[in-house]
Amino acid sequence: MKQEIEKLEKAVLEELKKASSSEGLKELEVKYFGRKGEFTAILKGLKDLSAEEKPVLGKLANITKVKLEKTIEAQRQKLEGSTLEKELKTEFFDTSIPGKTPKIGHIHPLSQVQEEVERIFSQMGFAIMDGPEVESEYYNFEGLNIPADHPARDMQDTFFIQDKNDPKHGHMVLRTHTSPVQIRTMEKYGAPLRIIVPGRVFRYEATDASHDTTFYQVEGLLIDKEISLSHLKGVMAEFLTRLFGNPVKVRFRPGYFPFVEPGLELDFSCLICNAKGCKVCKNTGWIEFMGAGMVHGNVLKAGGIDSKKYQGWAFGFGLTRLVMMRHAVSDIRLLTNGDLRFIKQF
């Protein structure tokens, strides 16, 4: 009888392998475990066994039965699973219908780049400052070492305000650069200082694709005890590298701005051609980026800072230009005319 059980077990397992549908499984179950099934017959025959054999073979028969039933059940689940899978796979569902997006608006590219600039400089410990856009001649010019007859005032074509004059402040102007905030911040906080000033500036200048009366600048100022040009190189290389997500090199050239001495122009390596020379960098490998330099003693004095104790640098770059460069915008006026066909691209 023992052999019989083992033989049947083998046979069941053998047939199980061949059963490829749930119907087949059902047949197999009936054949062995049905009322007239072969295994059922064995179980029925147990009662005719001797008292010694009964418990031993009975146990074996039961274990085998449970085992086989479990195996069959597992096989059934497997078969049914794949049937469901098959059904699901053949179901028609159009995934190409456009997704339902909530209406998301667009943040102006100037705001986006400005936030990025602020974030990077914040991480380097710079505070973000603000100042008035309608500014006095004193803060916009004299305080920055640009007296009335200075040729630099030519370069700063200025909007003046009607009927505003003050013995200390002079006429009132729309600030031509963010630099007045240098003096205002020095006056308010003294040294040391580590600030940037992103802001709107104005120039009385005919408008075309690359000039507008209104644009954005970012001013930077770092004043402490041992601040050098080497630090300016380091900070700007770090800033540009983080901004562009690629290693950027910077270089200095001599430049002239009345509020710094030494005065510099800063270029950065062209990312489009990898500094090999292309149309964008006019084949020089370098992009002109900003003016900078060591803060002029007269400016520190105007801000109430002792130039014997403290020294530092300042820079100013065009945020608008940076946005135009980044997004290949060819006409500056697109940034201020409110055309949504433009803004919706960002």
Partner: protein, 802 residues
């Protein structure tokens, strides 16, 4: 400014194997920005003489011809539209690979082999202007005709027109602070210092008779004219300049006049010192340097009659002004073909005065450009001697009449600056030895004595090098900016103050753009009278521009609304519906020197067709803003002040507890809408005083414990007079059980079919909850009864009530 390499070599020994491009690059990095290097051989690269052997009409174009052109060994087919082109003509051919400027305009383009209207063309036959030549006799449709010269086909064009010289162009702006660099002499000195080449000092051969005729010079105002050197030269013959002189002037961008005027220009270009020559026969008695008299007039060399003012300096004789000092000479004493005797002027004028006069008269000349930089008075005498030397050379009969008259009163004491070399190292951020610092300064002709007492040469001390930092700049640039390593400063232990307003501005953008679906716009800070009127604003309270570029940019905005309306006007062309906002400043005149600058968030919602939805969406947006920044205790009132562009009854004002206006929400005033051609649209707008609102924000919210017992919901639907406000209805519902009713949400308003005329059906969802127990049916029924009763008291009819 153009600088000729050939000319530079008169003063500095430049090795012939030095690439001028490398030199220009080095000057850019150490001195001033160079904008290009022009070399004729390069300019005419791949351009040769061609001989048109056959000419055929172009099969596909009337105006074009096909020219078989021999360029020596080969003959090519070239398509050309030149009106004067004939068979047998000698022409300039630009071959593929050369750079030309189409019709002499725009950026140069590189030529390639091309098909023009289906016909092969190997390069082009050029107009003069297309290859950078100046030929005033050529008609606009003509090409350059070389037939008169009959050069051999294939001859490079550079052999015909080329000069062997190379010209470096400097960016004038980058020379603003360097008065010494406005001539070849100064640039040569700079190159000598940078490259360590030998500098050749100019020592003009000049000998004047000790006794003889001198110019009588009287300076009335030494502040405006610290030095005036004059010299008489007789026996002049005015004629064309010799070729060498013409060539140099041409290379540096100057025209030719006559030998005398050319020499003054030559000396200016060489030394940077402007000069002037008068025909002596027109000068009565002597020279007086004085301020112009009231109403005095002069006709300047450009033929324009100019009225002078008393702050302008003139050069006069004893009768009349003969020149506007340092700006332009007068016609009345101009050198002419009959001139035989001249007075040469080499003077120094006050930079600011020259600049002012030039700006006032609207004249900018080469002389102004130089004088306004503060020239070295010492240069005046050298320049005069140099000019005399050249005139004697090119005008064989000329004779110097007498000695130089030198009227002057200027400070000859050299500028001395003490240099702290430790500070120098600290500011540059590199370790340069004292020895090297000394070497650098000496290469630039500074004299260093002791432990760094530095004497500045006169040509640098007029304004360029006056303080210690100026010396540090000299050290840094010659040491080489490229040699300064990049390093990061130590972070301070004290962190900077946080600009929370900036931070919130960015959060506001995220709210409006990313959550509420608005697009952000940027507008100008100004608008015009028409915009003010169209928005029903008053001109009062505006800050006005004194100078402006257009009529729609005359007033500083006191509100963001007018420019937003212009945005709507623009965008309805492309979008039926849109939602926009701007965060920007307003500028209000408040009777003080500085106007009040406040930051606002302004927005607009526009929909095609008639609807009140935009108003409620705008209201929701403003409420979302207050919710986002947790600005509480806001009073909303149904009236608007200082909001003329709002529909008076479709508007709300949001007030702070203290009564400060924080925001307006409104449907656009129909008149304003009409003024902006926006009829057919529904428009609601808002303006939030960002500056004021953020004073009230509460960043922290405290937690309220979560309810322990379930809430129950109750629907109430009522038909009531249209004019009853939802606010009133909600209040009445709350009143029904102040303790248990937690929320009353409006979920429908309906007017129209099945609802009596003049009435509306309104439905609310009422949430009831108790903190200490589960509510019973009885609670609910009782509340419901009260609700019904209260609404009925308002004249409402409860729907679905038996």
């Amino acid at each position: 400014m153009y600088v000729s390499l050939d000319w530079l070599k008169d003063f500095v020994e430049i090795p012939s194997n030095l690439d001028p491009k490398d030199l220009a690059d080095e000057l850019t990095l150490k001195t001033a920005e160079t904008e290009g290097v022009m070399n004729d051989a390069e300019k005419f690269e791949n351009m040769v003489v061609g001989h048109v052997t056959e000419l055929h009409p172009h099969p596909n174009a009337d105006k074009l011809k096909i020219a078989k052109t021999s360029i020596g060994k080969d003959t090519h087919q070239i398509v050309c539209g030149g009106a004067n082109l004939v068979e047998g003509m000698y022409v300039a051919v630009a071959l593929p690979g050369s750079w030309v400027r189409w019709h002499g305009e725009g950026e140069p383009v590189k030529l390639e082999k091309a098909k023009i209207r289906g016909e092969e063309s190997y390069g082009m036959i050029c107009q003069s202007a297309e290859i950078g030549l100046d030929n005033p006799n050529e008609e606009p449709e003509d090409i350059l005709d070389l037939s008169a010269q009959k050069p051999k086909p294939g001859t490079p064009i550079s052999e015909l027109f080329g000069e062997s010289d190379t010209v470096i162009e400097f960016d004038n702006k980058s020379l603003t602070h360097r008065p010494d660099l406005w001539g070849h002499y100064g640039i040569a000195r700079e190159i000598a210092a940078i490259k360590g080449y030998k500098f050749k000092e100019l020592k003009p051969k000049f000998k004047a008779p000790e006794k003889g005729e001198t110019v009588d010079v009287k300076i009335e105002d030494y502040d405006l004219c610290p030095r005036y050197c004059g010299l008489i030269i007789n026996n002049i013959k005015v004629e064309d300049s010799p070729d060498w002189l013409k060539k140099r002037l041409k290379a540096t961008g100057h025209g030719n006049h006559n030998n005398i005027v050319d020499v003054t220009n030559y000396v200016m270009t060489e030394l940077g010192q402007p000069m002037h020559a008068f025909d002596k026969s027109y000068i009565k008695e002597g020279i007086i340097v004085r301020r112009a008299k009231k109403g005095e007039k002069i006709t300047s060399l450009d033929g324009k009659k100019r009225e002078l003012t008393q702050d302008m300096l003139v050069i006069a004789d004893h009768e009349k002004p003969v020149a506007i000092a340092g700006v332009m000479g007068g016609e009345n004493s101009e050198i002419n073909s009959g001139t035989t005797s001249i007075i040469l002027e080499s003077a120094n004028f006050n930079a600011a005065s020259i600049r002012k006069t030039s700006t006032k008269l609207g004249v900018r000349t080469d002389a102004v450009q130089r004088f306004e930089k503060s020239l070295d008075p010492f240069m005046a005498e050298l320049a005069l001697k140099r000019a005399a030397e050249i005139i004697l050379n090119i005008c064989p009969g000329a004779e110097i009449a007498g000695s130089i008259t030198d009227a002057e009163k200027f400070d000859k004491k050299p500028v001395k600056i003490k240099l702290d070399t430790d500070k120098t190292r600290s500011k540059i951020g590199v370790d340069i030895s004292d020895k090297d610092i000394k070497k650098i300064l000496e290469s630039l002709e500074f004299i260093v004595s002791g432990s760094f007492e530095v004497t500045v040469p006169s040509f640098r001390s007029t304004k360029d090098v006056l303080i210690e930092d100026d010396l540090i700049e000299e050290v840094a640039r010659i040491f080489g900016y490229e040699n300064i390593p990049a390093s990061l400063p130590m972070l301070p232990t004290k962190l900077p103050e946080e600009n929370t307003e900036r931070f919130k501005k960015h959060r506001t953008r995220e709210l409006f753009s990313h959550a509420l679906g608005f697009d952000e716009v940027y507008n100008y800070s100004f608008y015009g009278v028409k915009d003010i009127k169209n928005s029903l604003l008053s001109e009062e309270g505006h800050v006005k521009l004194l100078n402006y570029l257009s009529e729609d940019q005359t007033h500083m905005r006191t509100s963001l609304i007018p420019n937003l309306l212009k945005n709507l006007q623009l965008n309805i062309k492309y979008f039926d519906n849109s939602k926009i906002y701007e965060i920007g400043r307003t500028y209000k005149e408040i009777g003080e020197y500085f106007p009040l600058e406040e930051k606002f968030v302004g927005g607009a919602i526009i929909q095609k067709g008639k609807s009140d939805d935009p108003f409620y969406e705008a209201k929701g947006a403003v409420e979302a803003f207050f919710e986002k920044f947790n600005i509480r205790k806001i009073k909303v009132v149904k009236e608007i002040q200082n909001c003329p562009y709002g529909h008076p009854s479709k508007a709300l004002t949001f007030l702070s507890k203290s009564g400060q206006t924080l925001a307006h929400v409104f449907t656009l005033h129909p008149q304003v809408q009409k003024n902006h051609d926006l009829n057919g649209y529904s428009i609601a707008m808002f303006e939030i005083n960002f500056t004021e609102a953020l004073k009230l924000d509460q960043p922290l919210r405290s937690y309220k414990s979560l309810p322990k017992f379930p809430s129950i919901l109750l629907d109430v639907s009522v038909v009531i007079d249209q004019t009853k406000e939802i606010k009133t209805l909600r209040e009445e519902i709350f009143k029904a059980n102040k303790e248990l009713i937690k929320k009353v949400d409006l979920f429908d308003i309906y007017e129209g079919e099945n609802v009596e005329e003049g009435k509306k059906a309104v439905a609310f969802k009422v949430t009831m909850q108790a903190p200490d127990r589960t509510l019973t049916d009885e609670d609910m029924t009782k509340a419901q009864e009260n609700i019904f009763k209260n609404l009925e008291a308002l004249g409402g009819k409860i729907r679905g009530k038996a």
